[in-house]
Point group: C2
């Protein structure tokens, strides 16, 4: 039988528990994480089946339709293009762009399903979305060896980093919204860490359940709140602080963070 949890001498190590009660802080759902990764990138790895049934990986450029359906444009001159004409099963892996730090602690998502040629309005939407992601596709997309495909998503597996992972289904994936503040998140994290370390420490102490924190840096920010990495005399840990209201536009992040800083010092 395969193990269901890490087995080993270090598996029991734990971070210091909060010393004070922490308000529940909402997080993006796995479906929102998946939609966000797909919306924020355009390069992915595609897994298809070679003639002998072996798995074949390749890099592809993709675009996403309004509901998150990924669109590809594949040539039968390429192995992946020939593969999908034989067996349309495929999966697409999208990872976070511009990862700094430990790449295993970064986000990625696998969308598995079947590739299908869109027709009619969906084909037009696919062409337009693809051209926005790859301006040169206006040229090569018209070559006779290229075909547009829509990935009919059946399974979604999201990994956010160490210990942050979950699965979701096509219904939840398509119904979810990409995080509207994701594009500016890296910049916001950098700004908070460079210019507002004192505010982050105040948040960690007053709102994050760690009144003994000696250092706090922002690890991630999203529409619902921020993840802080903390140092305390009892060891290192993370805590999450939720915004009073979700940020619905990129410009909302600033006000949401200022409100937290004020509340932390009240």
């Amino acid at each position: 039988m395969l193990p269901t949890d890490h087995l080993g001498p270090a598996a029991g190590r734990s971070a210091p528990a909060p010393l004070a009660e922490v308000a529940p802080a909402p997080r993006r759902t796995p479906a929102e994480e998946a939609r966000t990764l797909v919306a924020c990138n355009r390069m992915a790895a595609l897994a298809t089946l070679s003639e002998d049934g072996a798995p074949w990986g390749s890099l592809v450029l993709y675009a996403a339709l309004q509901d998150g359906t990924p669109v590809l444009c594949l040539s039968t001159l390429a192995e992946h293009g020939r593969n999908v004409t034989r067996d349309a099963r495929a999966s697409l892996v999208v990872g976070e762009a511009d990862v700094t730090g430990d790449p295993l602690d970064s986000g990625r998502v696998t969308l598995a399903g079947v590739l299908e040629e869109p027709v009619g309005d969906e084909l037009e939407a696919a062409r337009a979305a693809y051209r926005a992601a790859s301006p040169t596709s206006g040229l090569y997309g018209g070559f006779g060896d290229f075909t547009y495909y829509a990935l009919r998503v059946a399974r979604v597996r999201w990994v956010g980093g160490y210990g942050r992972m979950d699965s979701t289904d096509a219904g939840a994936y398509h119904a979810a919204e990409p995080d509207p503040v994701a594009a500016g998140a890296a910049h916001a994290v950098q700004h908070l860490n460079e210019d507002h370390a004192d505010a982050l420490l105040a948040m960690a102490r007053a709102l994050g359940g760690h009144p003994d924190a000696t250092e706090a840096t922002c690890a991630r920010i999203d529409r619902y709140g921020l993840d802080l990495s903390l140092k305390t005399p009892r060891g290192s840990t993370e805590t999450r602080i939720g915004f009073a209201e979700p940020a619905n536009r990129p410009g909302d992040l600033r006000a949401a963070t200022v409100e937290l800083a004020k509340r932390a010092r009240a």
Copy 2:
């Protein structure tokens, strides 16, 4: 029957031909390209087979042994780890890091083969290489659910960008050497374009077969030479200029480029 070349109205467009004879300029072999991509990165996409035989893509951290054999460390808590215990066939896709410009015009390689558990000295080498690539693997690599794997490479498919692609086999892959100047190539390209545009233009005119070039930028540099993107009154094109001697150490690039600049102005 599937087409063997691009079919379409734009497929016949061509760049201006050289006006003067150009000395043959060696390039990295596909095997060298593949070894270089593998040596310069540590994140890859892994394609494995799900229980129903469908292709499953995931992101993995890898290391490379001395002969370029990729080493993975997979957990059976993850779908890819369970997949390979059922069917060891896999392929690994490595792309260029830090791509600027059109991502479809960047390098990537697929290594396809079978995953096998290394034993004895190779297991020790695999652990050491993996720990160098992922310092935290000293911790999780010891968990009972993680297994080290070596990818026994059978097929190699390299794509360098538009129109630059080739296949090679395991023998050539393992025998080739990663380009020793690759790690500094992006910096060298930036430096040449920012500070030595005049020298690049002189090279394009005197050595690159385009005496009517009006602008030249360095697109790529490697141990054997440089690729220049040119503008001429007859249209845009590329030309390659070979170094007098291959650069065998990172520090050799400067002297090799200076020699080209002098020769171009002689």
